[in-house]
Structures are given as structure tokens and as C-alpha cells.
């Protein structure tokens, strides 16, 4: 594979990740696509500022993240629609299906500051250092938000389970 084809392949993978992340940020499919397209337009205009050899993925995620923040500041609205994650239809085990829904519901309850570190790490492509750079956070702050978020998630899911058990009994 030549360098151009290799770059195109990498970019395609990154754009796929950007689209997922944009959905989590905007919670709306159309807005997510607009956000990704705005990000790409900005990246094209700012391509001179990208240093060859530096991490292209983090550079793109940062543009997306900052675009999202400034868009939201400008709009000054909070979109409280449900988190746009697909219904776990493909999961045939009913116990697992219920737990997945509980986890996604719990994720939605978390403040964004805790939710984004969890999501970025779950994308399975970013190290802590890269995810912290994407969110413009010091590594220590990133660590503690991720830790607190995961613990909160576990407790919310645990509480739901306990409530359901009580109802059954």
C-alpha cells in the first residue's frame, strides 16, 4: 500500500470514530453529521498546521471537540434528547440485553465531564494521554474523571438491579 492509500485508509477509520463520538456529543444524528463535516472543513482549512508525524487522530478529535464546545456555547441550548445509542437488539441473551440497556441509561445520567472520558476510552483507540489531550485536560484530571465516572456508572447500574430484585421478591 502506498503512502497516499495508507493515509486515506487511516483517515477513513478516524472519520468512522469521529462520527461515533459526534453522536455521543450531540445526541442527534443530523447534528452529529454536521459536526463531523464542520470538523473536516476546518481540518482542510487548517491542514498547514498539522505536523506530519504527529498524531492525526488526536488532532482531528480535538478539532471536533472544540467545534462542538463553541457551537454549543453559541447556541446556548441543552439538547436533552436521549443518548443516541442503538437499541441492543442484536444481543439475544435477555440478561445481557437488560444489563446493556441499564449501562446505556446510566451513562446518560452521568455529567458530560465524566461521560466523555468513558466514551473516549471505550472507543478502544485512545490511550489516556491521547484522550486527555483531546479533551484539553491535565492527565490527573482525566484520570479522576474517568475513575469517578466509572464508579458512578457501576453504582447506578447496581442500584437499578437492587431495586428490581426487591420488586421481584
Amino acid at each position: 500500500m502506498d503512502a497516499r492509500a495508507e493515509l486515506e485508509q487511516r483517515l477513513t477509520d478516524y472519520v468512522t470514530s469521529l462520527r461515533r463520538y459526534a453522536l455521543v456529543l450531540t445526541r442527534n444524528r443530523d447534528q452529529a453529521e454536521d459536526l463531523v463535516q464542520d470538523t473536516l472543513v476546518k481540518a482542510i482549512a487548517a491542514s498547514d498546521s498539522w505536523q506530519p508525524g504527529s498524531d492525526l487522530r488526536v488532532w482531528l478529535f480535538r478539532i471536533l471537540h472544540n467545534t462542538h464546545i463553541s457551537e454549543r456555547r453559541r447556541a446556548k441550548v441543552r439538547n436533552d434528547a436521549r443518548l443516541m445509542l442503538p437499541e441492543p437488539l442484536e444481543e439475544t441473551d435477555p440478561t445481557k440485553r437488560i444489563e446493556l440497556q441499564q449501562v446505556l441509561d446510566a451513562l446518560e445520567e452521568l455529567p458530560e465531564a465524566q461521560r466523555l472520558p468513558i466514551v473516549l476510552v471505550a472507543l478502544k483507540e485512545m490511550s489516556y494521554a491521547e484522550a486527555a489531550r483531546t479533551l484539553d485536560l491535565p492527565l490527573g484530571t482525566f484520570y479522576s474523571r474517568l475513575g469517578r465516572g466509572r464508579e458512578a456508572l457501576r453504582q447506578i447500574v447496581g442500584k437499578v438491579k437492587a431495586t428490581k430484585l426487591k420488586l421481584v421478591v
Partner: protein, 263 residues
């Protein structure tokens, strides 16, 4: 669990620890079933969220506009990553690598061309300008063309008056390519007319026309291939032409050959 331990467990879960630190965590987990249960729950949640995120992207095709932008960004970044590499040379020009490198330098320095005189190379100056203008305008949707759609014809009239020779945008619809915009470029070689075309896949071509200088010979078609674009140029009695577009598939060579024959 202290917050430091919490951080360690998360780092362990995400594979951020070295082997020694990981072994230390495993030893602690072996003695603490409750912590182990917590870690397992977090691991399960992480996998579920990851699977749900992965499923998102599979629920619809990439919109055309996103795909186009992605393609353009790839072109931009590739140019940025490979401006000094050795270019693949076509068989039709001797010393083409040197010429291509010189032209590429002109192209990358396009905005500064007014204050910088390139060393003479085998590529005519108007071709260097055409390459630079293609890089700056045709591939860049952020800067809109000055004339679009139906205005291109009236633009051509104005260009003709400015340049002192009749110019128009050739109809390339037989090749599945349509004109999307036009602009007049002021260069030290005089005004150049640039017509921008687009094919069905969104790939951009630009055809640049310059008034043929009286003191220059006419020249048959020559094609120079770059890593990410190609230019075909030829000079006639009245007008000099440069067609810039994507490389690798020979489209510029065949398109330019047909145009040079017909015009």
C-alpha cells in the same frame, strides 16, 4: 477504595500499566474479592459501551458530503506529508523529477509567489501558476469559486475582455465532467482564466488558460505526474492551456490529449 487505587484499577483495566504494576494490581485483587467484582463490573460495562459505540457506525452509510470532505482532507494532508519526496516520473519527459519538484515548490509557495521568483525550470511559469491555483482553489471548498453555475458563461466573456483573447469553458460533459466554477487569477504572467470542473465522484479538475506570449513557441501536449495530481499542458497560437487533476488513473493524459486535439 482510595481514589489512587481507583485510578490504578482503571489503568489496569485499560491496559495502561506496565507488567510490574499490573502484577502488583493482580496480587491485590487476589486478596480482595470485592474489588475484583467491582473491576469485573467496570470491565463488562466498558465492553458493552464499546460494542454499542461500534454498532452506531454500522447503522448507516457515510453521507456523500462527508466522504468528499474526507477525500479532500486526505489530499491536503498527503501533500503536507510528502512535499519533498521523490516524485514518480512518467516515461514521456526526461528529468521530470527535477521539474516536478520545482513545480511543486512553486505550487506550495503559491501565496508568496509575488515576492518570490522561482529558479527557471522546464515547466512554463503559467503551468506553475495553474498548479498552485489548483491546489489553492479547486481542491478547497472553503474558498468558493467567484463564478458558479450559469454565471460561468458571462464570466468567460469578461475573462476574454481582460485577457485580450477569446476564452470559454470547454464542454466536458461527454467525459462525465461538468463545470462548477470559474475565476480570474492575477499573476505576474498576466491574467489567467481558471475553470473548475467536477466529475461524478466529486474529484476536481481545473483548466487554466493563459494568453500565448508572442515571443514563445507553440508546444505539443506534455504531461507531468505528481503523487496526488497530474498536469497536462500545451501551447497554441492564441492560448496556452494547463489541465490539472487527479493522477494515477491516466485520466489527465487522455482528457488533455482529447482537448488538445479538439481545441
Amino acid at each position: 477504595m482510595t481514589s489512587a487505587e481507583q485510578i490504578d484499577f482503571n489503568a489496569y483495566l485499560d491496559g495502561e500499566l506496565g507488567p510490574e504494576e499490573a502484577a502488583e494490581i493482580e496480587a491485590r485483587l487476589a486478596e480482595d474479592p470485592e474489588a475484583q467484582a467491582r473491576l469485573e463490573a467496570c470491565g463488562r460495562h466498558k465492553d458493552m459501551i464499546a460494542d454499542a459505540l461500534t454498532a452506531i457506525a454500522l447503522t448507516g452509510p457515510v453521507p456523500l458530503k462527508t466522504a468528499r470532505l474526507e477525500k479532500r482532507l486526505a489530499a491536503k494532508l498527503h501533500m503536507r506529508a510528502a512535499p519533498t519526496r521523490t516524485f514518480a516520473a512518467g516515461p514521456w519527459l526526461q528529468g521530470v523529477t527535477q521539474i516536478a519538484a520545482a513545480a511543486a515548490l512553486v505550487a506550495f509557495g503559491w501565496w508568496g509567489h509575488a515576492s518570490w521568483t522561482p529558479t527557471p525550470s522546464g515547466v512554463p511559469e503559467y503551468v506553475s501558476e495553474a498548479l498552485g491555483a489548483h491546489t489553492v482553489f479547486a481542491n478547497d471548498i472553503v474558498r468558493p469559486a467567484e463564478f458558479t453555475g450559469g454565471d460561468v458563461d458571462s464570466a468567460a466573456e469578461w475573462f476574454s475582455a481582460k485577457m485580450g483573447v477569446p476564452v470559454l469553458a470547454p464542454d466536458l460533459s461527454d467525459y462525465g465532467i461538468s463545470v462548477v466554477g470559474a475565476r480570474l487569477l492575477g499573476t505576474k504572467e498576466g491574467p489567467l482564466a481558471q475553470f473548475i470542473y467536477e466529475d461524478g465522484d466529486g474529484a476536481r479538475y481545473s483548466l487554466t488558460l493563459a494568453k500565448h506570449p508572442d515571443n514563445q513557441p507553440i508546444a505539443p501536449l506534455q504531461v507531468v505526474d505528481y503523487p496526488n495530481r497530474a498536469v497536462g499542458y500545451w501551447r497554441t497560437q492564441d492560448i496556452d492551456f494547463a489541465l490539472v487533476g487527479k493522477s494515477n488513473d491516466g485520466s489527465i493524459q487522455s482528457l488533455a490529449a482529447n482537448l488538445a486535439k479538439d481545441i
